[in-house]
Point group: C2
Chain length 347, copies 2
């Protein structure tokens, strides 16, 4: 038996500080049409897809708010056309953007819109915000002000089933709640955002809910390692290669260790002609092999037919959690955020 879904990452190239959302929207819709031509069923867009990656700038309130979405995204005049096309083409989408709640809280959010149900099925708010609250003091450093503009996500890691993608799903009533349904039910999905992918806890939280596919967008500076002054001086080109190496490494290893497929989708290219973001959008299998990877640093659709049954080898053998995990030994993981070192020995 197979449970195949055709999936894609829609990588999005440079978006400048003054690029209007409508211009971005027409590019996203164009990528969706390209996906439809290839019979893709699910497209993953990047993190903060609709605008330039504004946390690199220290902004005044008015410009800052223009980068956020206020109110229900499906009602937004700017973004609504994307959902209309999604429904018309029958393609589910994952979309990241900056959310301002009615209470005034800012989140870095990703939503899963189901074409089958014509609604948002699930929301995920980024838990691991990188960067700083205060701008860097170094005059040439590129800021990363996510900790200033966003609040850590309050929705946990909400796994969910996506209907309408796998035709041969189980009939209601033949599977008990809590039963392991690999090979039977609608696929189990999870969303992460960018920096979350470097944190094994985030992947594990979804895997503990049986996730078969984890999807995330990212904005990753290719120049950061250079500017942050690693011990080994790097050229900007070396720093970019290093950033891409780390991005691949954590996607491949966490897919393997959690026996799930993953899709990563990059915002990339040079925003404003100078802020360099790595590309490398990729689809990775549950054994840690990349099966499709972007070849450009611009708008690009990469796709693959993925069989969710390929997760079973890992989930039932090496990573059969119920048989192998030893939770009595993991206490510190959620009891202590930072480091507590063993005592210094007397000399």
């Amino acid at each position: 038996m197979t449970r195949e879904v055709k999936v894609a990452a829609a990588q999005v190239g440079a978006i400048h500080r003054d690029t209007p959302k409508t211009a971005v929207m027409s590019r996203l819709i164009s990528l969706l049409h390209e996906a439809a031509d290839s019979k893709v069923q699910l497209v993953v867009f990047p993190e903060c897809t609709l605008t330039t990656f504004f946390p690199r700038h220290l902004l005044q309130a008015e410009e800052l708010e223009a980068f956020f979405e206020h109110g229900e995204i499906t009602d937004s005049p700017d973004v609504k056309p994307l959902f209309e096309v999604s429904k018309k083409l029958g393609i589910d989408i994952v979309l990241g953007y900056a959310e301002r709640t009615p209470e005034g809280v800012g989140y870095n959010i990703s939503i899963y819109f189901s074409a089958f149900e014509s609604r948002i099925l699930q929301k995920y708010r980024k838990v691991h915000l990188p960067g700083t609250k205060e701008p860097f003091k170094e005059p040439n450093a590129t800021n990363q002000l996510e900790k200033r503009y966003f609040t850590p996500g309050d929705l946990g890691f909400p796994a969910f089933r996506a209907p309408g993608l796998v035709p041969d799903t189980v009939k209601k009533g033949t599977v008990q709640a809590g039963e392991i349904t690999a090979g039977k039910g609608d696929p189990i999905f999870g969303m992460l955002i960018c920096n979350d992918r470097r944190w094994s806890e985030a992947w594990r939280m979804y895997a503990l809910k049986g996730a078969e596919l984890i999807m995330f967008g990212f904005n990753t500076g290719g120049h950061m390692a250079h500017l942050w002054g690693g011990r080994k001086a790097m050229t900007p080109e070396q720093a970019k290669t290093e950033a891409l190496f780390h991005s691949r490494l954590v996607q491949q290893s966490n897919s393997y260790m959690n026996a799930c497929w993953s899709i990563s989708s990059a915002r990339c290219g040079k925003d404003d002609g100078k802020y360099d973001l790595i590309a490398g959008s990729a689809i990775c299998d549950p054994e840690g092999h990349i099966v499709a990877e972007a070849q450009t640093e611009g708008d690009e659709l990469i796709s693959a037919v993925i069989d969710l049954e390929d997760c079973r080898q890992g989930k039932e053998k090496t990573f059969d959690f119920a048989r192998h995990r030893r939770i009595e030994a993991y206490g510190l993981i959620n009891q202590q955020a930072g480091v507590s070192e063993p005592e210094l020995l007397e000399k």
Copy 2:
């Protein structure tokens, strides 16, 4: 400032079912002398170094017990010479073996013997035991009976400081207990064993204690994926390549995500001329790059000068746990061992 230590993995090739421990011992001592010639300060030997990897066999009590060490390992007539050479050469060693406690419990254990202090500084008992309690029913399958012969480790993940390796350590009294001492104190080490390396929780537990170097031995069958019947049929050669890919992947990614050096040491080659174990002993830096890797499938020493200060880039920036981890979102990780799936949606 640098805190350099010259370290090595002493990979150990084929050991047959009837190979006496004294024959193994002379090979280990030979590797220690080779290490001394290169001014190595710390040598990591593999998992269950002293005998063939016996959990592949369903054994009667008498043969089984001969594979275990009874009583203090430093008093064992067979193994004592290794510690004598360690002291004489001034080389610390990590050694894995099968331990039978006075109470009759079997553990897969690894010890850290300090030449500087002439004693065992720390013990680690393997937490993540792979395999099964009952032998496989398939007539040609190679068993993995660790769950039958061993009890999961009861010592947690005990990080410790190793004295005598870094000459320029802090003087007693100038550092407060609990203070972050990166760059100041004796190095902070942790041990894992084989399958533990695939479990992100194990690495994280050490990283939460500031580990700068994590060391592990392994016995990894190159043929297992083949015999376990993955969905994609593989030749034995492909399965071995895949096993090595996974071994590298988890070492590199977990070193990066925990900002620590790591040393892996393989028992490898063809035990009894037919049980194929992967090699690939490796030293990996805190950014996830392998800096030394075994080139053979036999006895081989690989070494590198590692600077523990290279951990700081990760520990103080991307993986500054205190600033970035969100423990309120990690609840399930130690509350639930197995998988609990989201409910099936109605169709």
